[in-house]
Symmetry: C2
Subunit: 249 residues, 2 copies
């Protein structure tokens, strides 16, 4: 936990927040802070800054904001289209996506996604949000990714994508990771890119029909390397490569 994320539901008044969960525990038992000491905080979907420990009991920690400064959301702005993984993997994808600064997550159906995955209780907002918050606290970010769950494959490409592209001022680059592609990300990347829609398939990969459908929708294939990565690591690998490519002269 590199940043204590503060939420509206924690708020006591204009500048005070009361914590009773693993964040309070972290302040007490890991950081071992005492009353009057400072800790790095971030307001969910808002600025980061510092807060002073005002109350510290075994039951609760009250923080008083002492300084706030706005931070820019990460660039490039990346939306992830991800074949819904099994629940254990989903937790890791939620954590990693928030840690890496993904803006929106579309979990979609694919031929190699088991139907039962869409029945997972983890798809409830109150269940998945803690994993996102944990990721933000790791990556020192405050922007909560938006989650969209689509129990159809085509719905994203036929109904959502055209709307997203229409409302967006900047034309997004559309990329799909595919171990079989002979192109690396550098060959698919333009340094002026500021928005990316990035798709990752299920364990076992997309079906040929699905890859063709995505190609028709403008998605270009690239490989992350020769190794076969787990979904959560593919997110890390791709975002790290994107950030590097934006920095290279």
């Amino acid at each position: 936990m590199n940043l204590i994320i503060l939420m509206e539901s924690d708020r006591l008044d204009n500048e005070r927040f009361c914590l009773r969960d693993n964040r309070a525990e972290h302040i007490r038992d890991v950081l071992k802070l005492e009353k009057g000491e400072k800790v790095q905080v971030g307001l969910l979907n808002g600025p980061v800054g510092q807060a002073v420990v005002e109350v510290l009991t075994p039951l609760e920690v009250v923080l008083k904001i002492s300084e706030l400064r706005d931070i820019a959301p990460p660039e490039p702005i990346v939306d992830l289209v991800c074949a819904l993984p099994r629940p254990q993997t989903l937790k890791k994808v939620l954590f990693t996506s928030a840690m890496m600064g993904i803006r929106r997550l579309y979990f979609i159906r694919a031929g190699r996604v088991e139907k039962s995955y869409f029945q997972s209780p983890l798809l409830g907002k109150e269940k998945y949000t803690p994993h996102l918050i944990e990721g933000l606290a790791q990556g020192k970010l405050t922007f909560l990714p938006e989650i969209h769950i689509l129990d159809r494959f085509k719905v994203f490409f036929d109904a959502i994508l055209p709307v997203v592209e229409k409302e967006s001022e900047i034309n997004p680059a559309k990329l799909v990771a595919s171990p079989e592609s002979s192109f690396n990300l550098g060959e698919r990347f333009d340094k002026n890119i500021r928005r990316i829609i990035f798709a990752i398939g299920p364990e076992g990969g997309w079906l040929p029909f699905e890859l063709e459908y995505m190609e028709q929708a403008g998605f270009r294939q690239f490989t992350l390397g020769r190794r076969i990565l787990r979904v959560e690591h593919a997110v890390t690998a791709a975002l790290s490569q994107m950030e590097l490519l934006l920095k290279l002269k």
Copy 2:
């Protein structure tokens, strides 16, 4: 499990291997193979290829090699120097390092490493090897990383590093990830690099003294990006960036 890793201890004869653990389970319950069907296999530290399911019972699976072809170990050859993490994280670092094709792992002591971590039963060879094998099976690699555990910080730099550099024909690039560095990996990277010694600090980072000591030993600092990554994700991010940089023209 994208590759069934076969070990000498599984061997029945020249071309037959008997599995009774989670690999047998994977063949039966996930791949749902039947007698006579083929599966991708890799010999530990050796070639990859295919094998035929010869025996399939609830107790065991016997595979008969049908084809083998040599594969080259990954390039660049990367040795990882990692401040020993807590056991839960260590499992993930072992898995990820094997998945990403790390050649050697040196787990070392640092100021922000708790002493108790060196008492973990996970540091026993029979305990850590399964996590490495699992990583190889994910990444479709067969080269088992070598593990070295050093309960001192300086020992690696004073005693091990000079020997490694002396016996190596190619001078390794020495790099240390540091969130404070203003250099990205591209600025620290030479396309002719074929060997890398890459260091990752503990949660909470290296001490200033440690960073200076590493700098004296020739390690150059770079940042993986603005986000603070968990150790296992830092391994993925760095290796993905290295592989991309080698491919860029």
